[in-house]
Symmetry: C2
Subunit: 196 residues, 2 copies
């Protein structure tokens, strides 16, 4: 191999390792927000030295894992057309992102333990805002209830998705059922109360 | 003081210390499921040696704190008349126990990290079963939806109460609003779907 080609191969190799480490970090931290660097290295199939070559500390690794998940989540959200009926938009949002948001929330918990609070808030401001916009639009169009504040309705969605993810992880809920259960309960909870 | 009287006074003193330590354990573990023995001793206003005199290990302390909370929760549940309209029963159940159940769920998380899984399950089987009975009765009486399994409806209540407790702890939700928000969303989510 020529010198530049060897260098490019090494770079591609390093890139692949970094990806493997981040995937393993997301998987391990989703299961256990206290997962150690050794556990993550083992799951990625790399040594600790290699891991530390990419991420100098557990904090850096947790932050990179969270950033990666949120970037994925943002890409999914950006790809959705949330402009139609708020109920269909909410349904589509849940179905396309519940697992990702659930993972992010476990990784977020890990991040909250090691990153400064302001940093964590900035990182997940954007997805939370898109959900908030949708809820407020639904309220102003009269299809979502207004007797409860939008902030609580957004939190509710978050709690139900996170709880369903925990149930699925513990084998109490079939992962295939989760999106329907979440949609059917959250949409019912969002309905205006003056039904009759 | 006579010898037996002095002995009784020491016993009363020890009893008070044990109570203080358990109260502090519940408070600290509710805020942070990783709270250390030193933190709990400090919050109780006793030394570590005194604490270890009552609870030989962190595991023992966590288990005692959880047992105490669940006993309180059971006492509250036993005191409720859940025999009437399932909707009113659910409302009363939430209003009287949300904070306690929320604390229990944070302490439970601490317990899950140190106690064998079977032990944790046995400890909180009883309250979960009373809620399950109420949900199933509501379903059979046609006031709660049957298109979703009772197990999910029970989990949903748990997720919403736990989430509200976390929101309140982080100052995102006024503690005084929480019971109403929980009741109004959970009852709406439980309603039969053939409304019109």
């Amino acid at each position: 191999m020529s010198q530049p080609a060897a260098k490019a191969a090494r770079r591609a190799d390093a890139q692949r390792n970094a990806e493997k480490i981040l995937d393993a970090a997301v998987a391990c931290l989703s299961r256990n927000s206290d997962a150690s660097v050794s556990e993550i290295a083992r799951a990625a199939g790399v040594g600790r030295v290699t891991l530390y070559g990419h991420f100098p500390s557990r904090e850096a690794l947790v932050e990179a894992a969270l950033t990666r998940l949120l970037a994925k989540g943002n890409a999914v959200l950006e790809g959705l057309d949330l402009a139609g009926d708020p109920r269909s938009a909410l349904r589509e949002l849940i179905e396309s992102s519940w697992l990702l948001m659930a993972q992010a929330s476990a990784v977020l918990q890990a991040a909250q333990a090691v990153l400064p609070p302001g940093r964590v808030r900035t990182l997940h401001e954007h997805p939370e805002q898109r959900v908030g916009d949708l809820v407020r639009r639904g309220q102003s169009e009269g299809v979502f209830r207004v007797d409860l504040p939008a902030g609580w309705l957004v939190s509710l969605l978050h709690h139900v998705m996170k709880g369903a993810a925990a149930d699925a992880a513990q084998g109490r809920l079939d992962q295939a059922d989760a999106p329907r259960f979440i949609v059917d309960t959250v949409l019912a909870a969002y309905m205006p109360v003056d039904r009759g």
